[in-house]
Symmetry: C2
Subunit: 339 residues, 2 copies
């Protein structure tokens, strides 16, 4: 055992030695297909030189404190949150921490119950997609000295780190795409105004239209963001717009189905863009052009920012990281004019 350094190498040491990010080291170890061969070789050299072993859990036992991170979600069976959980679980594993799954089930008292449990178990930190509007629960958790990263919500930098996806940018690229493909009159099929994501996506749609001469925007609000409701709206449209932006894929899939049943051709007569790149976007008779959110990356980043706060301590500075969504082009919008 004499050759082993006083402190076992951590993933950060490997990253520094190889001159790459921690995520790249993690990718080499877990998803080598994502990394080019030369970079991967450099990382593997560093792993070998430092005798780095991903060593889950050992740290906590050795130092006498827990190495658990809490992940508090409204509903782990919702695909958006389960993808956050996947990214968070992978990052926790890569860094040797265990992840305690806390499924608040949309119940504030259960969310509070989990916070209490995490304090009792001396979790080293918590990633939380918070429920509702009581910041008091989060404040009390922070006052216990437990570092906290908000996911899918923004937080003022002074209070802690947060990760979210830029919904304004998502709405903007969706509508810019419709405008680029020749649909200058755009209808937004939106959710209720009180839903923050819907308001942001609509704001992005307005930005896109304002910056394009001759473009105009209408909005219809769906009471429920479901396939059935999308189909209902398709039945009720009198004047067909050139393009429709639905603020989720369920609405878009229902709208496409309803329009097709009326004999409207997609994308020839009406072009449609959805949001979320849910499974349903690839399933329908017309596959959906949609906006993809980097949800796994969001979960992964939340854990890595939390660990930076835990491990770097005084050197850590809070950060508000906002991920950019990306457009995925499928059959529901026209090919570019020059194709």
């Amino acid at each position: 055992m004499d050759a082993i350094p006083a402190r076992p190498a951590r993933i950060q040491d490997v990253a520094a030695a190889a001159g790459v990010s921690v995520s790249t080291v993690s990718n080499v170890l877990n998803r080598p297909e994502r990394v080019n061969a030369r970079t991967a070789a450099r990382v593997r050299d560093a792993v070998a030189a430092l005798d780095y072993v991903p060593h889950p859990g050992a740290a906590g036992l050795r130092t006498g404190h827990s190495s658990s991170i809490g992940l508090v979600l409204p509903d782990v069976a919702n695909s958006f949150y389960s993808r956050i959980a996947r990214g968070a679980a992978e990052a926790a594993y890569d860094h040797g921490y265990s992840l305690v799954l806390c499924h608040s089930g949309d119940a504030p008292e259960r969310e509070q119950g989990y916070f209490t449990m995490l304090v009792q178990q001396r979790a080293v930190g918590v990633v939380v997609v918070p429920l509702g509007a009581d910041p008091g629960r989060l404040t009390r958790l922070r006052e216990r000295g437990i570092p906290l990263v908000l996911a899918d919500r923004e937080m003022p930098d002074r209070d802690g780190c947060s990760v979210s996806v830029d919904d304004v940018a998502g709405g903007r690229i969706a509508v810019q795409h419709l405008l680029d493909r020749g649909a200058l009159d755009v209808l937004v099929v939106n959710g209720e105004r009180g839903i923050r994501q819907c308001a942001d996506r609509y704001q992005g749609a307005r930005q896109a239209v304002r910056s394009r001469r001759g473009a105009r925007l209408d909005q219809v609000v769906a009471e429920e963001m479901t396939v059935a409701y999308g189909a209902k709206i398709a039945d009720q449209l009198d004047d067909l717009p050139g393009g429709v932006f639905c603020t989720n894929d369920f609405l878009a899939a229902g709208l496409c189905r309803g329009l097709t049943e009326r004999g409207v051709r997609i994308p020839e007569d009406v072009q449609v863009v959805g949001y979320g790149d849910l499974d349903i976007a690839s399933f329908g008779a017309t596959t959906l052009t949609t906006v993809r959110q980097p949800v796994e990356e969001l979960g992964r980043a939340a854990v890595e920012m939390l660990l930076d706060e835990i491990e770097a301590r005084a050197e850590h500075t809070h950060e508000t990281r906002v991920f950019a969504p990306a457009l995925v082009v499928r059959d529901s919008t026209r090919p570019p004019a020059d194709a």
Copy 2:
């Protein structure tokens, strides 16, 4: 911060609020196995309401054991597994245990890494949906003295508890329904023979047909269990059967779409039953009659059987619990003849 009471809650306050003794509160926090679930829930509600936090150094640290359960899944972002996770998380919370989420990502070495971590962290037990065919990993875990419940796999009673869904029964009720609704010639669109669930569902289909005079069964094997492949099979069918049983909902949705595009009417010309009651079963132009699996219940039962093994010790006997699936009737099969 005015809303926070001047004095932090003490254990006596919790006991008074819950209407129990101080030692019962202490048991709920430290030895939850000694308290019945209803009392424990009342105490935890009071703990949450009063924001009570015991002195550090309590619980696991004092007694030298943790109250963590591991949940090892191939992919937490797969909806079948995320529903297991929801049921498991709810049961763990109800009984005062924390649930460590282990996402093996279909990688055997990562599954083993998690097992090692759970041993190091002295998890009190593990629920696992195991990967692949190496029972050695499970045996080694059991040899460490860690109780183990298998989910979505059966296990001989002598080795431990397991929970699964009866796929033979699922195939049987699917095809019985087609026969009952007048389709006596049934085609099974199945996955590869090597997939255990597919083989079981086909066996159930055969049982249903064998017990019905005049009924006959054919089978076609889909290389991929996808919507696209279901549509492809619809294109290739020469003689239309009266009924089609697809062993998952993706195949069934694609088949319905493909048949409809050929002008075949569902359910008038061909009746279709899927499997799984995935979201897609409710999304298509034709909603799917399908087989629903009680997945949350399976996750919940796995945790409760594990806790029985942990808490009852000598009185515990291993059990193989097999859940019955249920038929959900929608538009893709005909109404009963007498309707």
